[in-house]
């Protein structure tokens, strides 16, 4: 494991690695999402309370999981970036943020569309919904903060500190439904006393979650390639510029 990390720590080696493998992760992503959508929309039963409306879950819940998972990985990368000054950690964190923000937005929008028919409202300011909205704001803040510095290194450092402070929102999101009275129902899948969701609804949920996970991997690899290319271009431009004048 240590060797793999050391091997990928080198940015140019990581670029070769991502160029080689992102088509595979894209393929796995499409397979899982196709299977998950088919199982969720065609093969799974309607809910005993909500009927067909429950199918929004197969997009909403995996998107919300990914929103938190990506933030968690950004937190770990930020620790690596701040303590060990890892050259790739900053780039990975910077490239993860827009994907995480997109998943958060998807979770918020699909949750809103799901809330109207079931709860009777598009939006309420209960602890779960508010904390996820704050997560979205932190993602947006990270995206702008990292890009607002002339010096990439300073921007990455500010972003890493913001990520670590924002990480305290993660347990609040997860446990908000247990700590406070909320309109949002408690967890159905990830909980101590086992899932309270029928197996035919759990399978498409897991399939979609895996599809979204590989969506993250694919677009992270593509984003990192773009970022490394941009940095190389910038370097070349500066070198040429200084030679001519």
């Amino acid at each position: 494991m240590q060797n793999i990390f050391n091997f990928l720590a080198n940015p140019s080696r990581f670029r070769l690695f991502s160029q080689k493998y992102y088509s595979y992760t894209l393929f796995i992503m499409f397979t899982f999402i196709f299977l998950g959508l088919w199982y969720g929309l065609v093969n799974s039963p309607p809910d005993y309370q909500q009927g067909e409306t429950v199918r929004i879950m197969y997009v909403h819940v995996p998107a919300a999981w990914m929103a938190m998972m990506i933030y968690l990985s950004m937190t770990i990368m930020s620790i690596f970036a701040l303590v060990w000054r890892h050259p790739l950690a900053d780039i990975l964190s910077k490239c993860s943020a827009p994907i995480g923000a997109s998943f958060t937005l998807i979770a918020l929008v699909t949750g809103s569309i799901w809330g109207k028919p079931t709860w009777g409202t598009w939006w309420v300011w209960d602890a779960r919904l508010t904390s996820v909205f704050i997560l979205f704001l932190i993602y947006m803040g990270h995206i702008t903060l990292v890009r607002s510095f002339e010096d990439e290194y300073k921007g990455a450092r500010a972003g890493a500190i913001l990520t670590l402070i924002g990480a305290f929102n993660l347990p609040i999101i997860k446990f908000s439904v247990d700590w406070w009275n909320t309109l949002h129902q408690p967890a159905s899948v990830i909980k101590l006393d086992g899932p309270t969701i029928h197996i035919d609804m759990m399978i498409p949920l897991i399939l979609m979650a895996l599809g979204f996970l590989f969506f993250y991997f694919s677009f992270l690899l593509i984003n990192v390639q773009t970022e490394l290319n941009n940095r190389k271009l910038k370097k070349l431009f500066i070198q040429n510029f200084s030679v001519k004048h």
């Binding site: 079931t118 009777g120 602890a127 700590w179 009275n181 309109l183 006393d193």
Partner: protein, 167 residues
């Protein structure tokens, strides 16, 4: 002698890098502890305002909220929904220990049913009847096909709202 000097320099450099790394890690740890403590204090201090709704039992202990706009939540008692006048309904919200009468006029969400969770926004009138101006349906964390729910009800394994079923 020269070789010795360079190696000593190298060792010193390594040590400095290590010490710096340890320093950064300890700053992070200290920050982590400080923010967790302050976060815990903030959250526990603002507990009341973070609550989205009160249960009928919590309502009994809070007499000062009469006349203020609040939200209450609980289960709609079975066979308690009554049509009073034109589109005005009355029902009972209970939490197992206490209950409260609710009056409401307006649109109801699809999931508003007897035995289901509900959240009502409004205020308590002087006759201690809750006058709601907004009703939200709350659903639980159980998802299953209707046939499975039927079977569970038939075989008596249905434990009702708030408790978990194992299947």
């Amino acid at each position: 002698m020269v070789v010795l000097k360079t190696t000593r320099k190298k060792i010193n450099k390594m040590n400095i890098a290590k010490i710096k790394r340890r320093k950064r890690l300890s700053i992070l740890l200290l920050g982590f502890i400080a923010i967790s403590i302050s976060g815990f204090l903030i959250l526990s201090a603002s507990r009341d305002s973070l609550i989205f709704f009160y249960s009928p039992t919590e309502l009994k202990e809070k007499q000062e909220i009469i006349g203020k706009i609040i939200r209450i939540g609980g289960l709609v008692r079975e066979n308690s929904i009554k049509l009073k006048e034109q589109s005005e309904i009355q029902f009972i919200v209970e939490d197992g220990e206490n209950y409260i009468l609710v009056n409401y006029t307006g649109m109801l969400p699809d999931l508003f049913r007897e035995g289901q969770g509900v959240i009502c926004e409004g205020k308590i009138g002087e006759d201690s009847i809750f006058i709601a101006n907004k009703i939200l349906a709350k659903h639980d964390e159980k998802y299953m096909p209707p046939e499975v729910a039927e079977i569970l009800k038939k075989t008596g394994k249905w434990k009702g709202e708030g408790e978990t079923n194992d299947y």
